[in-house]
C-alpha cells in the first residue's frame, strides 16, 4: 500500500482512534470503508470469507453519525468512540438477529443487550454486524455453523478456526478493526492462531457473561479479537469490569491492560520468568508449529527473560475432562431451547394436534445440528444416574488437579508459554465428521478454561511446510491478565522487527466477490 492512499481498513484500532481524535477522518468515513470492504470480500455461504451472518449497515452508520456529532460538540469521548466493531453472534443485541449459528434461533431478535454490547454502544463503537460461529460455539472450525462455514482469509479452502472463526476472519480480512469473541475451550485463541491475528481469553469472571448465550457457564469467557495486542488491551479495558447482572463477575479491578501492552512493546523482558509447559512444548506436533514456537522462545531469552521448563502433568487429562464438563453443562443449558417462549417451533409431520413435548422433540431435532446433538447426548449420559460420579464427578476432580498444577507452576514462573494449536489451519471438510480429531486440536487451549486463567494468542510466523500462520500462547495466573498483554506485546514487537512489519501484511490479497 502506498503512503498516498488512505485505506482506513488497514489501520489498527489505536491508529483509527488517533486519526478520529486528530480530525483526520470521521467515524462515518471509517464505518463506510469497512462496510465497503465487507461488501467486497465477505460473500456468502458459497464464496468469499463469509465472516458475517448479519451486516447492519444502516445501524452502524447511524451510530457513526452520532459519534461524529458527539465529537463535533466537544463531548468527552471514550478513546474508541467511533471505531467500528464486529460482534460474535452469540451475544444478545437488540434490533439485530442473534442466531448462535443455529437454525433453532433463526430470525430471533433479542429484547435486550448483553452487558458487553451495552458497553460498546455506550462507548460509541458502531456495530458493523454479527459474526459467524460454530453452532452454539461447539467446534473448532466454524464448519458447524448452520449457515455455512467461514473461510480463512489466508487460504479460502481452509478453516478459520472456531468456534469464533467469523470474528477472527473479519479482523484478518480487514473487514473490521476490532471484534468480540468468546472462548470456552479456545474459541478466541485458536482462530487467532490460524488466521494470524491476536485473541485474548480473559480471566474467568473478568468480563460479564450477561447476555452471552451460555455454552458452558463455568468455562465461557468473552474477550477481544484484534490484529494487535494494544488493540486487544484497549478493547478488554472497555468491556471488562464487574457487572451486578453476572453473579460470577469478579468485583476487583484488573490492572490497566493498555499500560501493560505499552510496556511490553518496548521488547524488554528483563527479570521475567517464563515456563515452557513440558506437556505442551510441541513435541510431535506439526514441525512448522514447533519451529516457530522454539524461535519465539529464543527471542524471549534475547529480550532478557529467563526460560525454564515446567511440567503440568495433569494436562494430559484435560481434553477428556473438558469433553465431559462441557457436554454436561451444555446439555443442561440447551434444554431452554424448547420452542415454547422463543426460537423456532416445528410441528411434527403427520401428527394431529401434537403435544408440547412432541413439538419440542421435532423442533430440537430440526433446529440443532449434528455436533450439538452429539454433545447434548454425551452430556445427558454423563449426568445420568449411575454414571455421574465416574464421568462428571471425575472430570470436576481433574479440574482441581489441573488448577493445582498451574498454581505450582506459577510459584516458579511469571507466565507459561506454548504453541496455541498443534497444527496450522486444516482444509475445510477434513475433520468435519471425525469429532475426536477435531477435539484433539484443543489440547493447548482447554487447560486455561478448566482453570479459569487468562491466555493470549499472538502470531508467531508461518509454518515452512504450508506457509500458514502459527500462534504463540501466553498464560498467566487468574487476575494477572496484564502479564499476558505485556509478554504478548513483547513477542509482537520482537517478531515485527524480524519480519519488518505485521505478519498479516504477508497474507495474500483477497479477490473481490461477484456482486
Amino acid at each position: 500500500m502506498s503512503a498516498a492512499t488512505t485505506d482506513w481498513t488497514r489501520r489498527t484500532a489505536a491508529e483509527l482512534a488517533d486519526a478520529l481524535a486528530a480530525g483526520e477522518v470521521t467515524s462515518v468515513e471509517l464505518t463506510r470503508a469497512h462496510l465497503d470492504r465487507i461488501a467486497a470480500v465477505d460473500g456468502d455461504a458459497d464464496s468469499g470469507v463469509h465472516a458475517f451472518l448479519h451486516v447492519d449497515a444502516e445501524g452502524a452508520l447511524a451510530q457513526a453519525r452520532a459519534s461524529d456529532e458527539r465529537r463535533a460538540a466537544g463531548a468527552p469521548l471514550h478513546a474508541l468512540d467511533g471505531v467500528p466493531i464486529a460482534v460474535k453472534d452469540v451475544l444478545a443485541t437488540t434490533g439485530l438477529p442473534t442466531t448462535c449459528g443455529s437454525r433453532i434461533l433463526e430470525g430471533w431478535v433479542p429484547p435486550y443487550d448483553a452487558t458487553v454490547v451495552a458497553k460498546l454502544k455506550a462507548a460509541g463503537l458502531p456495530i458493523l454486524g454479527k459474526t459467524n460461529m460454530d453452532e452454539f460455539a461447539m467446534g473448532s472450525s466454524t464448519e458447524h455453523s448452520a449457515y455455512g462455514p467461514t473461510r480463512n482469509p489466508w487460504d479460502l479452502t481452509r478453516i478459520p478456526g472456531g468456534s469464533g472463526g467469523g470474528s477472527a476472519a473479519a479482523v484478518a480480512a480487514y473487514e473490521a478493526p476490532l471484534a468480540i469473541g468468546t472462548d470456552t475451550g479456545g474459541s478466541i485463541r485458536q482462530p487467532g492462531a490460524v488466521t494470524g491475528t491476536v485473541g485474548v481469553k480473559p480471566t474467568y469472571g473478568a468480563v460479564s457473561r450477561y447476555g452471552l448465550v451460555a455454552l458452558a457457564n463455568s468455562l465461557d469467557q468473552v474477550g477481544p479479537v484484534t490484529r494487535t495486542v494494544l488493540d486487544s488491551a484497549l478493547l478488554q479495558d472497555l468491556i471488562g469490569g464487574h457487572d451486578p447482572r453476572d453473579s460470577t463477575s469478579i468485583p476487583q479491578e484488573l490492572p490497566s491492560l493498555v499500560e501493560a501492552a505499552r510496556q511490553g512493546a518496548t521488547g524488554d523482558l528483563t527479570g521475567l520468568k517464563v515456563g515452557v509447559v513440558t506437556e505442551l512444548s510441541g513435541e510431535g506436533w506439526q514441525p512448522g508449529v514447533k519451529a516457530r514456537f522454539d524461535e519465539t522462545v529464543a527471542l524471549l531469552v534475547d529480550a532478557g527473560a529467563e526460560v525454564v521448563e515446567v511440567s503440568c502433568p495433569n494436562i494430559v487429562h484435560a481434553i477428556a475432562a473438558y469433553y465431559l464438563v462441557l457436554p454436561a453443562e451444555c446439555s443442561s443449558n440447551l434444554a431452554k431451547f424448547d420452542a415454547m417462549r422463543y426460537g423456532r417451533r416445528v410441528l411434527p409431520a403427520g401428527v394431529e394436534a401434537p403435544s408440547a413435548e412432541e413439538v419440542m422433540r421435532a423442533s430440537r431435532d430440526e433446529g440443532f445440528g449434528d455436533e450439538v446433538k452429539r454433545r447434548i447426548i454425551i452430556g445427558t449420559y454423563a449426568l445420568s444416574s449411575g454414571y455421574y460420579d465416574a464421568y462428571y464427578g471425575q472430570a470436576q476432580k481433574i479440574r482441581t488437579l489441573i488448577a493445582r498444577d498451574f498454581d505450582a507452576a506459577f510459584e516458579q514462573v511469571d507466565v507459561l508459554v506454548s504453541p496455541t494449536a498443534p497444527t496450522t489451519a486444516f482444509k475445510l471438510g477434513e475433520k468435519l465428521d471425525d469429532p475426536l480429531a477435531m477435539y484433539a486440536g484443543d489440547l493447548a487451549t482447554i487447560p486455561a478454561n478448566l482453570a479459569g486463567i487468562p491466555g493470549i494468542s499472538v502470531p508467531a510466523g508461518l509454518a515452512d511446510e504450508d506457509g500458514l500462520p502459527v500462534g504463540f500462547q501466553v498464560l498467566a495466573p487468574a487476575m494477572a491478565d496484564d502479564r499476558v498483554y505485556r509478554v504478548g506485546a513483547a513477542v509482537e514487537a520482537l517478531l515485527a522487527r524480524t519480519w519488518g512489519g505485521a505478519l498479516l501484511a504477508q497474507a495474500p490479497e483477497l479477490e473481490e466477490v461477484a456482486r
Binding site: 430471533w108 431478535v109 433479542p110 429484547p111 435486550y112 474467568y204 463455568s218 451486578p244 453473579s247 460470577t248 469478579i250 495433569n314 487429562h317 477428556a320 469433553y323 465431559l324 446439555s331 434444554a335 424448547d338 420452542a339 415454547m340 417462549r341 422463543y342 426460537g343 417451533r345 401434537p354 403435544s355 408440547a356 413435548e357 412432541e358 422433540r361 430440537r364 431435532d365 440443532f368 449434528d370 446433538k373 452429539r374 447426548i377 454425551i378 445427558t380 449420559y381 445420568s384 449411575g386 465416574a390 464421568y391 464427578g393 471425575q394 472430570a395 470436576q396 476432580k397 481433574i398 479440574r399 488437579l401 488448577a403 469429532p435 475426536l436 478448566l450 482453570a451 479459569g452 487468574a478
Partner: protein
C-alpha cells in the same frame, strides 16, 4: 463406577435422545451411535485418575451467593418479553397442549 468398558448401543442413544427431547431419525441414530461410542471410550480414560481426597471444582473461581438490595429496576415489558415467541395469545405465550390423551 461402571464395570464394563463403556459403549453406547443404538438403543442407548435412542433412550438418551429421548431424555434430551430430541427426535432422532433412524438415519441419525445409525450415523451418531458409533461416533458417540468412540467419544465416550476416549473420555472414559479419566476414570480413576483422581482419588477420593481430591475435591471437585465446579467453577474456577470461589462461588458464593450474591445478594443485592431489593430495589425495583426496569425490566422487560410484556410486549418485549413476548417479541420472540412462536405464538402469542392474550399477552401470554401460547403453547401446544401439555397433557396427554390419557390425562
Amino acid at each position: 463406577m461402571p464395570d464394563t468398558p463403556p459403549s453406547l448401543t443404538r438403543e442407548d442413544v435412542a433412550h438418551l435422545a429421548d431424555l434430551a427431547r430430541i427426535d432422532l431419525s433412524d438415519a441419525e441414530l445409525d450415523h451418531l451411535a458409533p461416533q458417540l461410542s468412540v467419544i465416550l471410550e476416549s473420555v472414559a480414560s479419566i476414570q480413576g485418575v483422581a482419588g477420593d481426597d481430591v475435591p471437585p471444582t465446579s467453577h474456577p473461581i470461589p462461588m458464593t451467593n450474591v445478594f443485592r438490595e431489593d430495589v425495583v429496576v426496569p425490566g422487560l415489558t410484556a410486549e418485549q418479553a413476548l417479541s420472540g415467541a412462536p405464538a402469542v395469545e392474550e399477552q401470554r405465550f401460547s403453547v401446544p397442549r401439555i397433557l396427554g390423551d390419557e390425562q
